[in-house]
């Protein structure tokens, strides 16, 4: 299993290098394009820029994603943006934050909705770009993006006082992006 994962990483890396060699525009691209060609392996937790929260503990983050906390300090209802099924970011969040697999997460969600513990189901969004726009438009939104997908339209929240590029940051993706 580990061998096949490494092989697929190498294949994807070679494909990216070849594609870049063929595309002169991409060769002269900006640093952000460079960054996008090498996706960050760190997962940033992002909120709407109007949200006063700048820092969350990991346990607070977990409570929010599990639906145990429904409102922000400013009164806005918390709206969770989840990426679509099969996305590495989603699997990372399920693994590190929810500490569940996909099936367990679905069970948890159904149970929470049924019992009324979860007011609003997380929005399942097709891509990181849509997720970023969702967070930008909804004052109470919270979501997750690769650090390389973050821009100025959203705000990155520190987790236990750490940002994605800090040492000992916990939310790391251990698999490549699925294009």
């Amino acid at each position: 299993m580990a061998v096949s994962t490494r092989v697929s990483k190498v294949v994807i890396a070679i494909a990216l290098v070849l594609a870049r060699m063929r595309d002169p525009v991409a060769q002269a691209a900006s640093p952000s394009a460079e960054a996008r060609s090498k996706p960050s392996q760190f997962l940033a937790i992002v909120v709407n820029r109007s949200n006063p929260v700048n820092n969350l503990s990991f346990s607070e983050l977990r409570k929010i994603f599990l639906g145990e906390r429904n409102h922000w300090p400013n009164g806005h209802r918390i709206a969770i943006a989840m990426l679509d099924y099969g996305q590495p970011e989603r699997r990372t969040v399920l693994r590190l934050v929810y500490r569940m697999d996909e099936n367990a997460y679905q069970d948890h969600l159904l149970r929470g909705m049924f019992l009324g513990d979860v007011f609003v189901a997380p929005r399942t969004l097709a891509s990181p770009v849509i997720a970023r726009k969702f967070v930008f438009n909804a004052p109470g939104a919270i979501g997750y993006l690769r650090a390389s997908d973050v821009d100025d339209s959203v705000k990155v929240v520190r987790i236990d006082g750490l940002l994605p590029d800090n040492k000992d940051y916990r939310l790391q993706i251990d698999e490549p992006r699925v294009e």
Partner: protein, 490 residues
């Protein structure tokens, strides 16, 4: 004495029309005047064309300004209205779906549309000219900002999963705010409509004014052209009539001049034939009558032939240097019999050492003889003639003047006395015989040799005719006048 009725023009006739009538039309136009008049017409028409082009250019600029101001303004307004509706429509679409992806897409569309509206409002405010436009623009910007705040909250509630709250907020705040925006847009549309109406009226007025100007300009050009053509035609007709009249007068005059000596010759011949003239003395007397009258007849024919020759510039004289006193003496000898018969006193005054002139002796003598004959004819009883010759150092000319103390020439006749066949009404009335060719022949004869003939006169005091003839060196220096070269050999 009864005065003739006042025939002055009515007061509404402008002075320039009278000027045209009296000066241009009544007198007819010369060839040069016709050319000048045609050039004036051409310039006038060119001016009219420039005027029309400038007028059309101004009209085009005004219409273009109207298009930029109103039509494009209305187009921008239409875009603005559409984008505002799109902003709201996309927000409402977001309410109708549970799909988060679609919600985000609709939110995105709403934001794109609202950016277009914000840009449009800024553009409208930057181009606002009147206080009303600025006021409406400011109000629209404020109302739009207020609506966008509500819209943002509504979108947030939709995305956060609170559709009921979103609907409530939209109905309570979003709808009234958007209605205010709509009212502002309607007011802007009204200002555009008013501007368009005003500018349409301006264009209509401009168009009407252009048509009037164009009509007036074309009418003016047509009138000017018609007047010019009429004047030219009238001038030609008048010239033809005058020429015909002069020819008729000439024929009558020549016939009369021919009839008189012929009658005398006929009578003398009949006297001899019928034996009425008997004896040597009587026969000699009748013979003298015949020869004198024949000589007079010959002279008349010579004069007509001479005029014909000079008028066609076909003189083939043998040119040579002539002494001025030689020319004067020749003319005096030729007219001696006439001067003595009329008992005239002649005072010749020729400066000594005059430089020679160039010409043909018989032609120049004929010129001088014509002047002497005229002095006798129009002496008005004062039987004195002064003939002088002097040098004009400045122009290097010899001036030969024939002066009399006769009747003088009316000012009105001065410009015409050198025309062939012309005889003034006073002379005709006084029954002074002549062909009207003498002065014309003299002038033409002087001009053939590069000179000229001028006159100074005073009615009742007398006249002085002066032949101006270039000295021999001068005429060679000038390489001969064009008229001298024609048919002449140096």
């Amino acid at each position: 004495m009864e005065k003739p009725p006042n025939r002055s023009a009515p007061p509404f006739v402008p002075a320039y029309l009278l000027l045209i009538k009296r000066w241009l039309l009544a007198r007819g136009l010369s060839r040069h005047a016709s050319i000048v008049l045609l050039l004036l017409v051409l310039l006038g028409e060119a001016g009219v064309a420039v005027f029309v082009m400038l007028d059309l250019s101004r009209s085009y600029a005004t219409v273009q300004g109207m298009y930029n101001g109103s039509v494009q303004g209305l187009v921008r307004f239409g875009d603005l209205q559409y984008e505002a509706q799109e902003t709201r429509r996309s927000t409402l679409y977001a309410l109708t779906t549970n799909d988060g992806n679609l919600m985000v897409e609709y939110a995105d569309q709403s934001r794109n549309a609202d950016r277009g509206v914000t840009r449009g409002i800024a553009q409208y405010r930057s181009q606002a000219r009147t206080a009303r436009e600025r006021q409406v623009g400011q109000r629209l910007a404020d109302d739009w900002d207020a609506y966008l705040k509500v819209r943002d909250e509504v979108l947030g509630l939709i995305l956060e999963g609170s559709p009921k709250e979103a609907v409530h907020l939209d109905l309570s705040l979003g709808v009234p705010e958007f209605d205010r925006v709509r009212q502002d847009l309607e007011e802007i549309k009204q200002t555009y409509d008013e501007q368009a109406s005003q500018q349409l009226a301006t264009v209509a007025e401009l168009s009407r004014r252009s048509m009037v100007r164009l009509g007036a300009a074309l009418g003016f050009g047509l009138l000017l052209g018609t007047v010019a053509i009429w004047a030219i035609q009238k001038g030609r007709l008048r010239s033809a009539v005058e020429l015909a009249k002069l020819q008729m007068d000439f024929v009558a005059s020549v016939s009369h001049e021919l009839r008189t000596p012929l009658t005398a010759i006929l009578t003398a011949g009949e006297n001899v034939r019928d034996g009425l003239a008997s004896g040597h003395d009587r026969l000699f007397e009748q013979g003298s009558v015949i020869t004198d009258q024949a000589a007079q007849l010959m002279e008349l024919v010579d004069q007509v032939l001479s005029f014909s020759a000079t008028s066609q510039v076909q003189i083939a004289q043998t040119l040579r240097d002539l002494r001025v006193d030689e020319v004067v003496d020749h003319a005096l000898r030729a007219t001696k019999w006439m001067l003595e018969a009329a008992d005239f006193t002649v005072e010749p005054q020729v400066e000594p050492d005059l430089p020679p002139i160039v010409g043909d002796l018989s032609v120049l003598s004929q010129c001088l003889q014509n002047l002497i004959v005229n002095a006798v004819k129009y002496s008005n009883g004062n039987r004195w003639i002064g003939i002088s010759a002097r040098l004009n150092q400045q122009d290097r000319e010899v001036l030969i003047s024939v002066r009399d103390r006769g009747m003088g020439i009316q000012a009105a006749d001065l410009s015409r006395i050198f025309e062939p066949f012309y005889r003034s009404p006073e002379v005709v009335a006084a029954q002074i015989r002549g062909t009207g060719l003498g002065l014309s022949i003299a002038k033409r004869g002087a001009e053939v040799f590069g000179g000229g003939l001028s006159v100074s006169t005073q009615v009742g005091v007398g006249s002085t005719f002066t032949l101006r003839l270039p000295v021999a060196k001068e005429i060679r220096r000038r390489s001969l006048a064009p008229s001298a070269r024609t048919g002449a050999q140096l």
